[in-house]
């Protein structure tokens, strides 16, 4: 023991408070069980309605299992150590030696390389081809334009070509995306507010543009999220697999109406979709 350099009397022995070991261990056990049960019971993703989404879901479910096991193992050891070594006098020498310490550094490295990189490369990567790959030849292309706090949808019309736009022509009521009349390709463009209608079972390519600030196109059931950046023409693609109506939301803070920037995605059968499309009037 070293002498205290100050003139004060020596301190009383430090309390080990080892009575706390059990309550603390119980707290860790209870918390671990509750967290694990919660992920089991609440760890449900919304119903899947797109083709590539299964890769995303697989990645998430894989991570839930892999990280769940690591979480349980870590807390089991923590709880055990807390109980075993609480004020212990029979622990044996704590000096592990450099070799053992290095070996134990290798274990987590190997485990995490397999769990983490395995997740990214083995399970995550296959989704890329579908999310970012070249679109199919028969893909439907639609443009979605984000502005505070509304989604505007544009179809290219029978010519299959999106007409030119000019932002100086934007008018909230008369011309929401700034269609340029001088371009013949603009004449048959269809412009709709807040409603995106698409066929089921066919690839959809969405061109993304923003008029003012950054927005983010997200439909949770499709596992799709892609930012709309002013000055950029963005893209996202997916294959809807279920007929129905889905909510379209903005995921990137875009101003005070961010929370109410709601749109709808209507997925119809192919024939129904074609019928609907042929009945829509061009904007001009």
């Amino acid at each position: 023991m070293s002498p205290a350099p100050s003139g004060r009397p020596a301190d009383p022995p430090v309390s080990t408070a080892s009575g706390l070991a059990k309550p603390l261990a119980a707290l860790f056990v209870a918390m671990t069980i509750l967290v694990a049960y919660g992920f089991w019971a609440k760890g449900r993703l919304p119903e899947l309605a797109s083709q590539h989404g299964k890769y995303i879901d697989n990645t998430i479910y894989y991570l839930l299992v892999a990280t769940g096991l690591l979480f349980l193992a870590g807390h089991a050891v923590l709880t055990w150590f807390v109980l075993r070594y609480a004020g212990a006098n029979d622990s044996g020498s704590p000096h592990a030696g450099a070799k053992l310490e290095k070996r134990w550094a290798l274990v987590p490295v190997l485990v995490m390389c397999v769990v983490a990189e395995g997740g990214v490369l083995g399970i995550g990567l296959p989704a890329f081809a579908e999310v970012y790959g070249e679109p199919a030849a028969d893909a439907v292309t639609v443009e979605v334009v984000g502005k505070q706090f509304e989604w505007i949808v544009r179809y290219p019309g029978p010519d299959g070509v999106f007409g030119a736009v000019d932002h100086t022509l934007v008018h909230d009521v008369r011309n929401p995306v700034g269609l340029d009349k001088k371009d013949p390709a603009s004449k048959d463009d269809i412009v709709l507010r807040g409603q995106l209608t698409l066929p089921v079972g066919r690839q959809v390519v969405i061109r993304l543009r923003a008029l003012d600030v950054i927005h983010s196109f997200t439909v949770p059931q499709f596992r799709v999220k892609q930012d709309l950046i002013p000055g950029f023409l963005g893209r996202t693609q997916f294959v809807p697999t279920k007929v129905g109506q889905y909510e379209l939301a903005c995921a990137e803070l875009c101003g005070l109406g961010h929370y109410r920037m709601r749109g709808f995605v209507n997925i119809k059968e192919e024939a129904e979709f074609q019928q609907w499309l042929s009945e829509e009037e061009p904007w001009f």
Binding site: R8, W104, A127
Partner: protein, 575 residues
């Protein structure tokens, strides 16, 4: 007087204790003493925490009871933005890195003060106007900044985009510039002090892990913050000087096309996250270092794998600077670049898990004493496990498509840069309180404080993970108009109740802190029977830190259960 082998800057006067300043102003206000400055930072952070915590209560009230509309949508965004900014930069960074870093580094390496005491004082007095500007922003026209703590343009660049992007955002940027200036001065001071002012015998690998982590954190801060300074200046230019660094052509507000042309908002995101991601490690690493120190002291054994922890920390620091793009997977980033960022990001889990395993293994064959500081350190192990693993879901670019901007993100980063750092700060406070005031904090209140911190905070942020899984999106004023968010909303009220409990629990700490500083149990120089250098001096540590003779380190910082000795522990300063 023992002659120094290392050069000491004139500021770190070896005989400072002989002429400690006597006037109240020079002693407690405009002090050059690192301990006083450290305490000033901590008290300032406590004050800011009351504001930041109060804002979080307001957020939780609005999110859980949107029908009551306790604030307007524009105020809500200001509240969210200011909560994030204040908590990350003006509470956690201030208390943990600037506060305890200042207080501990010289004491733990056996120095008499920082290398540059005047610069140290200057760095504190730079952050004070920063805090005032942040608070002032609430009272200007348009309200405080409302573009999120990430301040992405164009939202943050244009008053047309959101009311808070008026004067409020300008004040935000100026306050951040002051913060960065202060933090950079502090970081340079830490690096210089650690490299040049260590006591005789205090080799780099004889420094406590807390000092190592402060060292690495300072290097990271100095490297990562300047790009944000540049971004802040460029954003000010876009806002007030008509430049277009971050603003492209063709932006339309109310049928008017703005004159800006040629910039890109993505540039700002890169600059912001080039700082933003290392910043996570700037504040998390010191908390882990403190946990190592505290666990060694109360488990009565050296930390497991000291050297491996040092190497792992250096590797984490390096990797943390090359992974910022994982915040931008869905911004339109080239998927191959995204895949690189994904591989690099999750590779951090390898060295990081070394730290986790070493923390855990530092209990192995220990003789655990459950002081409050120790209980908080054990809590850190638990939270790091959960929060760290949660990061994998977001670092993996495929799953991040789903989780980006959801409550999963909110839950994850609060665990890591909120709860871990807060618990590290508390562990440090309970552990080193004797060196500040010569008294110990009340342990019973400490245990109560731990229970009221660990349980409710875990509840809040774990429940947010479930909300994120269900698809609930963050920064929403009102989730009720969406069908898909109804599942997540069921948890909003429970989360809010737990959050209020967590907030209330912190007043137990505040009361304990104030009461113990004045009336706590008086303790001697080494009440915890610890081994590192700071316990080789009176409690509270005097001006100049150590007595007339300069301290000498004769062994490592953690010689508990020394090998080949019958002693229970062998302090660093005794043969």
């Amino acid at each position: 007087m023992v002659l120094e082998t290392q050069a000491r800057p004139a500021g770190a006067h070896a005989s400072a204790h002989d002429h400690a300043p006597q006037s109240f102003l020079r002693r407690y206000v405009f002090s050059l003493d690192h301990k006083v400055i450290g305490l000033q930072y901590i008290l300032t952070a406590m004050f800011m925490a009351l504001i930041g915590g109060g804002l979080s209560a307001l957020i939780r009230y609005q999110v859980a009871w949107p029908e009551k509309a306790v604030v307007s949508p524009e105020t809500y965004l200001s509240v969210v933005t200011m909560h994030g900014t204040i908590m990350v930069f003006f509470v956690v960074s201030l208390a943990l890195v600037s506060g305890f870093g200042n207080f501990l580094i010289p004491l733990q390496i056996g120095a008499r003060d920082m290398a540059y005491p005047l610069l140290n004082a200057l760095s504190y007095w730079t952050i004070v106007p920063g805090c005032l500007l942040m608070i002032l922003a609430f009272f200007v026209e348009g309200g405080a900044a409302a573009a999120g703590w990430t301040a992405y343009p164009p939202l943050s660049a244009l008053a047309e985009a959101v009311p808070g992007s008026g004067l409020g955002q300008t004040l935000w940027l100026l306050a951040m510039a002051l913060f960065i200036a202060s933090f950079t001065m502090g970081g340079l001071n830490y690096i210089t002090t650690i490299l040049n002012c260590r006591a005789k015998g205090m080799g780099l690998l004889r420094m406590p892990l807390s000092v190592w982590m402060f060292f690495v954190s300072a290097i990271l801060g100095v490297l990562a913050f300047p790009p944000l300074t540049a971004a802040a200046l460029m954003l000010l230019g876009d806002r007030h000087l008509g430049t277009s660094f971050f603003l492209p052509g063709g932006m339309v507000f109310g049928e008017e096309v703005l004159a800006h042309e040629g910039g890109t908002p993505l540039l700002f995101q890169h600059l912001f996250w080039f700082l933003g991601h290392p910043e996570v490690y700037v504040i998390v690493l010191p908390a882990i270092g403190i946990a190592f120190d505290v666990i060694a002291t109360y488990a009565r054994r050296p930390p497991f794998g000291y050297r491996m922890s040092v190497w792992a920390t250096l590797l984490i620091a390096f990797l943390s600077m090359i992974v910022w793009g994982h915040h931008m997977y869905v911004s339109g980033m080239n998927p191959l670049v995204g895949e690189y960022f994904s591989i690099a990001t999750v590779s951090i889990t390898a060295p990081f898990s070394i730290l986790g395993v070493n923390l855990l293994a530092s209990l192995w064959r220990g003789k655990i004493r459950f002081t409050t500081a120790m209980v908080f350190a054990l809590g850190i192990i638990s939270v790091i496990g959960l929060g760290g693993l949660g990061g994998l879901y977001l670092g993996t670019s495929t799953s991040d498509i789903y989780f980006h901007d959801s409550y999963f993100v909110v839950g994850h980063f609060h665990l890591m840069i909120g709860v871990v750092t807060l618990m590290g700060t508390y562990a440090a406070c309970y552990h080193w309180f004797p060196k500040m005031f010569g008294r110990a904090m009340n342990e019973r209140l400490g245990y109560l404080h731990f229970a009221l911190t660990y349980v409710p905070m875990m509840a809040v942020f774990v429940l947010m993970h479930y909300q994120g899984l269900s698809g609930m999106l963050r920064r929403y004023y009102d989730h009720s108009i969406y069908d898909f968010q109804t599942v997540g909303r069921e948890l909003s009220k429970p989360i809010s109740y737990w959050a209020f409990a967590a907030f209330a629990g912190q007043f137990v700490f505040l009361a304990n802190f104030l009461w113990s500083a004045l009336r706590g149990r008086k303790v001697g120089s080494n009440p915890w029977e610890a081994t590192s250098m700071e316990w080789n001096t009176e409690s509270p540590a005097p001006h100049g830190n150590f007595g007339a003779a300069d301290p000498v380190a004769v062994r490592g910082p953690y010689d508990y259960a020394p090998e080949g000795s019958s002693k229970e522990y062998a302090p660093q300063w005794t043969q």
